[in-house]
Symmetry: C3
Subunit: 317 residues, 3 copies
């Protein structure tokens, strides 16, 4: 019944980390590990996806995310075509499926889909022929599974295991597809304590039902954490009634060296980027010794290569 | 005197199907047939254009058409560069030729040209050095020859031959470069009866001189047809005095299952895309058993590969 | 102390021609010479940068310049990713460095940087890790070194040597990064007489200190020149108080056949493009026998390939 898996339990699409079995998560992380050296080679290229046609189908523009997938696909030797497709709120799902059908008729192998509406990647995945895979590169507030996976890869690299960790996610959980993907993955991988920290206006009602502990006081929430994941605060949140000001927000929920000192001494600091320095994170922390923000980006390429190779059935694991 | 052929009769540019000899049309279709399996392979790539530089020179934006050429070129192993060049009505032809000369000086091998003005591709073809080929990817209301060719390829695939067919083209012939290309190709390939069906306001005056029969009544026009080609109705036509409304248009000239029943039982339905469902075509027909609209897209890649390989002189035929 | 050179004197970044030793300039020109035949081959490709990741980081859009670097990189078999990054005047340098750090974390090998602000490429070069190279593809009014180099390559090809030449640069020197790069290179390569010709409003104050002779009268300035380099006049200069009108400008500083006749009979005419025909140059001259404007473009690809291969350490010289 899981749209993401084949009948014999292999990865067929990557749409969300919600409901993805631990064995699959671990397989992706292990495969990513095997791609880590490609980025270090003189010739950063393996022929695993040679002659495959991958379409970056971006209904919402994102140079940054598109670049990570484009680089990962090119290092796998795939042919990549970028499509920025403007949609209006009037665009019917029918028009999207006609676009998808057209690209499928050109013998597409994989769609990397980004869309402002939650559920768009699922909608496309339910529609495509069996040999085509869909990767969700972010849909509305719903999910951003490759980001969640690279975060798990980062935690495993620095902490070795998941079963003994306390992980805090700090900030605008309400509007964050990244946070949703992280919580699902952390829970599945056996992290015993996942905390979310933020003002009431930025935490979803009933978030406790996802298996997390809720903190509105940052000091209390950070205490004894192994991993601190900061979320990006969208500037537009400031304009409405949700938040008083960036300065005020930073005072209460910005990560400073002082606040970070409440976590374990070897705690790592993560951020999905792009950062708002001085809003959700101080530059001293972002650029400090506990920050693993840039390694996250490096791992992101290996993780996306792993996902693509597993979907194409050409990974060695 | 034909700009499109070399002195010894080989294809030099592809600008229009008007005046292209039947032998050349047939050669392109046969070559496309030989490329049909490339899209089915594990590695969808042949090295015929390796190290060639192809420029998608799009003075009018079209993600869809650009994608078909980009995919075709990449499957031939060419290096493709996309250029979206904004032009204003004040842009002089001189500026276009300076751009073309610059790209030619970079050792360009082929230009795929799209322009809002009729004749733009011819203008460029008359100017370039002998080793450079130009493919018209749509110029104003004038021609869209690769679309016309893929339509012929589709008809031949489904009907086997041209000499015994009745083909109807329905809709906005007046503004359609696609229709012009289709009529030229159908006539050249020996289709005995080509019909155009549409309201007086959307048929060019004197269209009979192109060798077609004119129908303003859709029922009469569809009777006993083997092939029904629907044209896209541009939304902007509705705004002027040309048409009353989309609903009204659909009532008289939209292809419904009832109207399609007037054609031969094995008639095929074609559309160049993108479709306006509920305007020129009902979804039941677009997605029905007689529709070959998605196969058209598949064939379009093989046809564009054939055109490029023939122009580069590297096709096997 | 030179940011552009390694400790043992090899090219590390290409940011400006100011201060670049003659030996390095000559090495680039010699290497470019060795790439001249690649553009003439059936397969226009060498594997020198295979598996390298090159980012066209364009903070200021320029289809034309981006295309020259993209083609050069593809002919060297590199993987190229184009990024058009919109910046506002409020964008902090911090945000640019975060972008650069992110791409570096993806194992970037080279950044081709274009930015409206002078010094942007230097700013990035000072920041990146030792294995990453930066090429300045134009920064504000400051420098455009690959354009300067291709101009030197052109002069050497047509004139054989530099030590016996008189070279005139005509037009809007004040706003031209191209002119600055040319003056530095000409001086370094030993051209005994470099002249700048233009109205007072378009020449920088104190330009004589760059080692050039200043002329406000075009006839006097062109006399006995071996090389005449015309600069593009930005249309926006007309709007302010700097210039009366395009017609007036053409009358005094436009290059006509009559004015060109004052230079040596075998003088060559250069222009960085795109030309404003009838403003700074007459079409008879642009398309005439003394014009080497299109060869400049051809040489530009070889020069950019040379710069990239030298930076990557894979050139044969």
């Amino acid at each position: 019944m899981n749209l993401q898996l084949t009948e014999d339990g292999r990865l067929r699409h990557l749409l969300t980390l919600d409901g993805l079995p631990r064995a699959i998560l671990t397989q992706i992380l292990d495969t990513a590990e095997s791609f880590m050296d490609v980025g270090e080679r003189e010739v950063k290229k393996v022929p695993l996806l040679r002659g495959k046609s991958i379409f970056n189908l971006f209904f919402e523009p994102s140079t940054r995310t598109r670049t990570t997938f484009e680089i990962a696909a090119k290092r796998l030797s795939a042919d990549v075509v970028n499509l920025n497709i403007a949609t209006s709120s009037q665009t019917k799902g029918e028009a999207i499926l006609d676009t998808v059908d057209n690209l499928a008729a050109m013998h597409a192998d994989m769609f990397i889909v980004r869309h402002a509406q939650s559920g768009a990647a699922h909608f496309i995945a339910r529609h495509v022929a069996p040999h085509i895979s869909v990767v969700n590169a972010g849909d509305g507030r719903h999910a951003h599974p490759t980001q969640g996976l690279l975060d798990m890869f980062t935690i495993r690299r620095y902490k070795g295991a998941f079963h003994n960790l306390t992980v805090a996610i700090v900030g605008d959980v309400l509007h964050s597809r990244v946070a949703r993907s992280q919580i699902h993955a952390l829970t599945t991988l056996g992290v015993p304590e996942v905390r979310v920290i933020g003002p009431k206006t930025l935490l979803p009602t009933g978030v406790e039902q996802m298996g997390v502990k809720v903190f509105h006081d940052m000091d209390a929430g950070l205490r004894s954490c192994d991993v601190v994941i900061m979320l990006r605060l969208q500037n537009e949140r400031m304009k409405g009634a949700l938040l008083p000001s960036a300065q005020e927000y930073f005072k209460f929920f910005g990560l400073t060296p002082e606040k970070l000192a409440l976590a374990k001494p070897d705690a790592i600091v993560m951020h999905p980027g792009p950062m708002n320095r001085g809003v959700e994170i101080a530059s001293e922390v972002a650029d400090g010794p506990q920050s693993v923000i840039l390694p996250q980006v490096t791992y992101g390429i290996a993780v996306r290569m792993a996902v693509m190779a597993l979907l194409a059935g050409t990974a060695n694991t």
